[in-house]
Symmetry: C2
Subunit: 327 residues, 2 copies
């Protein structure tokens, strides 16, 4: 017997970087998912087959034995191990395990791949061991894994991968989740350049220390964009959402977190008829996101491909983490 769990990735619509200081971020769960299959082993080993992340190997106690890919314990592997162990400790159950990780969420691209994998891992292990974890428990246990990857994560990524839907997050004010009545598709363009959120956040912090009077003004504008953007999203006002995404992109450019390829894909999407487009996530690589009429999604995708980006047409996913028994 084995258990499969899947969890959605995410895209930030408004508020990246500014949310570190103040104001809301608006985050969408997307219908690209990470999938983890867990089954028990006869021995005590915890085996990870995670070739999408670049490795397979197992833990024999504290010793990692690589089978393929990275020999050192990278952060991604550590996050898997921590998610698994925390779940077993929480349930006070123990078993050798085979964990197969597959993901349609590109890694290090700002789409919440690591959180989705942690959430799916916790859910699969929990269900396999018969623990009947609540959503809240899954979310909290996955957060332990997220900490390994991101240091001090906001809690948004594990939250959205657990519950799906749309989140409004603001520091000190917690998380609100909501849904829209209408279908609202986006095109995501992956620059294929991996980047580190930590490094980009530090870079913005350094710029803020050098020119506080300016960066405070930029952040203030971003906070306003996030607030107006949230209202426009709830109203499904596409023209207004597009305007606000465009402005938000420029503000992110002013913080120095865009790269030429992201700017190119953003321009190309607009020329191809998108209502608006912006980088999504920390920048420095990763992805952009464009809002487009359904009839125009393919045009925008082609425009992104012409810039040598990988386009993904995505919908907001209201389906959070899901588990099922498989043979």
């Amino acid at each position: 017997m084995a258990v499969e769990a899947t969890a959605p990735g995410k895209a930030i619509l408004f508020g990246e970087h500014s949310v570190v200081y103040r104001g809301p971020a608006v985050v969408l769960a997307i219908d690209r998912r990470a999938r983890v299959v867990a089954e028990k082993r006869g021995d005590d080993r915890i085996f990870f087959d995670a070739l999408d992340l670049g490795f397979s190997g197992y833990f024999e106690g504290e010793t990692y034995v690589p089978v393929q890919g990275e020999i050192q314990q990278g952060r991604r592997l550590q996050a898997l191990l921590v998610s698994t162990r925390c779940t077993m400790e929480h349930l006070d159950l123990k078993s050798g395990l085979n964990l197969t990780v597959r993901s349609r969420i590109p890694i290090a691209a700002g789409l919440g791949s690591s959180a989705a994998i942690c959430v799916a891992t916790v859910a699969a292990v929990g269900e396999l061991l018969g623990g009947g974890l609540s959503m809240e428990e899954v979310c909290d246990l996955a957060f332990e894994g997220e900490k390994v990857v991101h240091g001090t994560p906001s809690g948004v990524d594990n939250n959205i991968s657990t519950y799906g839907g749309i989140l409004r997050y603001e520091r000190g004010k917690g998380i609100d989740r909501f849904e829209l009545d209408s279908n609202l598709p986006f095109v995501i363009g992956n620059s294929r350049r991996r980047r580190s959120t930590r490094r980009l956040v530090s870079r913005v912090r350094a710029l803020r220390e050098r020119t506080p009077e300016i960066v405070e003004q930029v952040i203030e504008a971003m906070v306003q964009v996030s607030k107006s953007g949230l209202a426009a999203l709830k109203d499904v006002n596409l023209h207004r959402l597009g305007d606000l995404m465009n402005v938000n992109h420029g503000l992110l450019v002013s913080l120095g977190v865009s790269i030429a390829k992201l700017d190119l894909m953003v321009h190309a999407s607009r020329v191809a008829g998108a209502y608006g487009a912006k980088l999504t996530g920390a920048g420095g690589g990763g992805c952009m996101i464009a809002l487009s009429d359904i009839s125009n999604l393919e045009n925008v995708s082609r425009a992104i491909r012409r810039c040598r980006g990988d386009p993904y047409i995505v919908n907001i996913s209201y389906e959070g983490v899901k588990t099922r028994r498989v043979n």
Copy 2:
């Protein structure tokens, strides 16, 4: 006997677009100049040889007779005629004239080509007719020509072409001129896309009407950048100037006035070691400007050329309009 007059072009360092609403703009005269040679004719015709602008032809009374290029009276031709006639009316002198216009300032690129040509025209005609115009008179008469091209120009362009140097301009507060002790070279990158300032200003106004709460914040940030930028310029603080140029570029992107090619040249200049880079002028085409160490000017120029832009290495010009008699 003929008179030659030359006048410098300009580049906006800080404050394009925001200056339409409030706060200062910081404008540099650059050492690329327009040149007009004026000589008397035996008849009443006013002949313009302005092939750099795309035309040659003459006025016989109110009738324009094209020799080459545009058949209709375009705005540029009108501006030349108005500058010439206003000067003659002001001096209460009249003559047939040959006017030869040559310019190293690309047109419709945001570098003040039309103002430099108007200023040089007024100065050449004034000197030829022996009027002994003051600088102030040259500036004011050229403004009449500028109005033909730009509708309601700020008065900055004719001012900087007349006096040279660095100007701080703010609506309702007039113009301050100053100089730096140090040499401060820039690289300008021309996208080769002509654009209309009027159209871009209208586009920003429309965005402001749609999203006033956001655009006001962006303008506020731009005003702050211009103020800090002016101080950094006076201190010749290159790192800080670079930071502020970079932030300013993003803010202009957020107003929707950049194009992919400008963004590419901006990124390429930074990668090539510029302290900072931004679009200059109204955007929608035209030019970007990069600040670089003298030792690095060629690198930045090459980077711009690789983006298929035309690089010009320029210095701030403290030499305003100049006339001399030629044979």
